[in-house]
Point group: C2
Chain length 128, copies 2
């Protein structure tokens, strides 16, 4: 698959895809005779992984470290597991934060609902 197809499919610009390759997040993508990238299943899986992690805001640097370890083979399995555990923990914390903010927003919105209602009431009595 060409870069533009991948781009469309995953909502990442070609520039971003090349950038990920440049910084070592994706292994050098195989090229055809005229130097054009031809993404295979391997790269696609990697991109899906990255996309998922990035949507949760996990930094590129963390992903690079993880992938570097993966390259080094089975000796790094427990280190990689550690990274995943850490990230999971951080996501849990982040979810809690989001939930708190969400609760606060709900609370404020309720207050605004009342305010809007009162404003309408005032308007009615003005017209009366």
């Amino acid at each position: 698959m060409k870069i533009s197809e991948i781009s469309q499919r995953y909502g990442l610009t070609p520039d971003t895809l090349r950038y990920y390759e440049k910084i070592g997040l994706i292994a050098p993508v195989p090229r055809n005779a005229s130097g054009i990238r031809n993404y295979s299943e391997d790269e696609i899986k990697r991109i899906e992984f990255i996309k998922c992690m990035r949507r949760a805001g996990i930094p590129l640097q963390t992903l690079i470290e993880y992938i570097e370890l993966a390259k080094k083979g089975d000796d790094t399995i427990s280190l990689r597991r550690e990274i995943l555990l850490q990230q999971r923990e951080q996501l849990v914390v982040k979810m809690r934060d989001l939930q708190e903010t969400l609760n606060f927003l709900e609370y404020k919105i309720k207050i605004y609902d009342k305010a809007v209602l009162n404003a309408k009431k005032d308007l009615r009595s003005e017209n009366a």
Copy 2:
């Protein structure tokens, strides 16, 4: 309260607090005779609000817009409400994303658990 006290209490550096003031996120803080900021309840409430919103990743620009509206008085209530509704919606989406990534992480971690277990088994049989 002095800037350093606020800084400690909310985990924002004095630089960040002054920065928020500079960009109009906090109204100019009252000063004592020698020009030193003296934060009052009003500012503290504002800072708590900002802190909460920022933890959920709501952009400074959005907060500035909201606060600009609040300054303009009651005519802007329903606009402000709209902003809050929008942010709530975005937070809900973000939570879903995080949950998905979390699920994926759980799944990967399980695979790693097995791999670590197998590695230990191999080690035992080597020693046997």
